[in-house]
């Protein structure tokens, strides 16, 4: 290669380094990994572990200063307290429902984008799906507050059919959260569908399979990892939310609120860390289950 030879002449030392790296796979790998791992392990994992350790400490109730006396009290409180059990159930329930709603909505629109729309329309649709991401999260949550109000647009639309707005409460929260995370679910499913070759669908049709059968037996199995990938976003983002529920969720609270109040209001970082163990545990179980599907490669 001429460029290479030119480089060889002008820059001998960089060439030697290049040869050295070419011959030493381990060194090459170490160079590639050191910076990102330094960042992720030293900043993120260390912080996370420190937080988990804090869960076993205690706090001076008045001054809010953490004492390093070891105790299982916080963890026991969280595991046995009826408040935490109720809120955990509510939160997981909301997160699952939001995930289901998002997938059900994402499937047809992603299918239309990937398999029906023309290339041009496809591009427009991707923009249309991505654009709402730029209107701030808070602004959108407050917009849903307007929509769900008892004389809001929702009421105005469903009233002729004898319906009523759900108002502020759990249904409102589920609607708003599904809305907020929808683009994050549509995109991986759309990308997944793009990867399903059209020829495969045609072959299935030629062999006499009905559309429904093709969808069920060919598309869905191929799409499964993409669906799971999308679900990780809607599920985990919902699991940690504490702002939307305040805006449209009525008087209800979620796990995020409990963590937030214990950090902010009660200044009880140890208890907050103990509560944080719940979503961490749930996410780990979730990731372990879904990693078998290969979904983690489709995020």
């Amino acid at each position: 290669m001429s460029t290479e030879s030119a480089e060889k002449m002008t820059n001998g030392s960089s060439h030697r380094a290049s040869v050295f790296l070419h011959n030493h796979v381990r060194v090459r790998l170490a160079l590639l990994l050191s910076a990102p791992l330094f960042w992720l392990v030293l900043v993120y994992i260390a912080a996370l572990v420190a937080l988990l350790v804090t869960a076993f400490w205690t706090v001076d109730s008045f001054t809010g200063i953490v004492r390093t006396d070891w105790t299982l009290d916080n963890v026991i409180t969280v595991l046995t307290g009826s408040l935490y059990q109720a809120v955990t159930l509510r939160t997981v329930g909301i997160a699952l429902l939001v995930t289901v709603v998002d997938i059900v909505i994402a499937l047809p629109i992603a299918f239309f984008m990937a398999k029906v729309a023309s290339a041009r329309l496809q591009r427009v649709l991707v923009i249309a799906v991505l654009m709402p991401l730029w209107a701030s999260y808070l602004v959108k949550a407050y917009a849903w507050r307007s929509v769900l109000s008892h004389d809001g647009i929702f009421q105005w639309i469903v009233q002729p059919f004898g319906g009523n707005t759900p108002g502020y409460g759990l249904p409102g929260a589920i609607i708003a959260l599904s809305y907020l995370w929808l683009p994050y679910v549509i995109l991986p499913i759309y990308a997944g569908l793009e990867r399903v070759p059209n020829s495969l669908l045609e072959a299935s049709g030629d062999l006499g399979a009905s559309t429904w059968r093709t969808l069920r037996l060919i598309v869905l199995p191929l799409l499964w990892p993409a669906i799971i990938a999308g679900s990780i976003f809607s599920f985990s983002l919902t699991l940690g939310d504490y702002i939307t529920i305040n805006i449209v969720g009525g008087a209800n609270q979620m796990l995020g609120n409990l963590v937030f109040t214990n950090v902010g209001a009660a200044n009880n970082l140890p208890l907050a860390s103990a509560i944080a163990l719940i979503p961490i545990l749930i996410i780990f179980v979730y990731l372990t289950v879904v990693r078998r599907t290969g979904a983690l490669n489709s995020l």
């Binding site: 392990v41 572990v49 350790v53 008045f62 004492r67 109000s149 009525g250 008087a251 990693r291």
Partner: protein, 397 residues
Amino acid sequence: MNRSMTLRRSGVVIALAVATVASFTLTACGTSAGNPSSTGLKQATKLGKNEKTVSILAWPGYVEDGSNDPKVNWVKPFEDQTGCQVTSKVYGTSDEAFSLMKSSNYDVVAASGDLTLRLIASGQVAPVNTKLIPSYKNVYPFLKLKAWNSVDGQSYGIPHGYGANLLAYNTKDFATAPTSWDVVFDKSSANKGKVTAYDSPIYIADAAMYLMAHQPDLGIKNPYALDTKQLAAAVTLLKGQRANIGEYWSDYLKTTQSFETGDTVVGTTWQVIKNSMSAKTPVDVTVPSEGVTGWSDTWMIGAKSKSPNCAYAWLNYIASPKVNAQATEYFGEAPSNSEACKYVSAGDCEAYHAGDADYASKIWYWTTPIAKCLDGRTNVKCTDYSQWTTAWQEIKG
């Protein structure tokens, strides 16, 4: 692909173990295990030359530098007069302010009564020598050296403004003004799903104040001094209320909105929220017979302040009649300076009952509940703020 998915456990375990040891060693020396004492801090005895900057932590609307509304700016004149450049941060709740004070060293903080004692006890704020603050002499006497801004006769700050947690009601649903808080407690089911309450543990005091009048046998003398049994009674009352709550509020856009749309028809509010509702909103406010809780905010100085002189300069400036009038009027509360009413818009001081010592005395000002009963009882231990917080979470469920 699937083969590579198998988790190599040992790798993870080693990584976690390394991280654990590293972080544990670090954390152990980073977190203080000692017991802080608030008495170690000394008040300043004289002032020096102003530093270059001062950082201020305050409620929204307390430190306006024109960035929100070019016409509302009392920071610029201060910077011009003193040479102290102001940076400010606002907070939404007293609890948020507490954690912010602990995390960053602000020079000045505007604290409500449910925050002040916590700041003092944790050594976050320094005693304030009021002799160094000329504006202090005009502050209403009924706000000076109170339980929420002083300890054992030592002042910890300068009163700013005060106000009451009023009862707001929709005039379409209530033909006459309710005379009792029972509309949000014992009779709240009449407006199920349309009742609101302030989202903070300190709201437990509202229930306690109600019980003072309606269950005298509980023996509550001060809504911020509750023993275990009295707290339990308040919690029961609030759990009953919870069933009828539409939503709790802590930011006032939310509560203004829902009163305007009618999603909420009755509940606690502040005068400033009532003022910000559009004129034709059928909502009015009242002081029920049981009395009201309220706040009296205090400007305090951070214990670790690197700009104490600028901090004193700010305290003196913000408590001076004209600025005190400007700031409290913008926020919507009564000023603390007896000369301030000369500068506020006509009718405002009357609306907030400024200087009305009799009205002010009816307000149970937010005070941090502590184990040592604030009502002077020594035979029992009172419940402290952390117990109130736990109780509050359980009430919300």
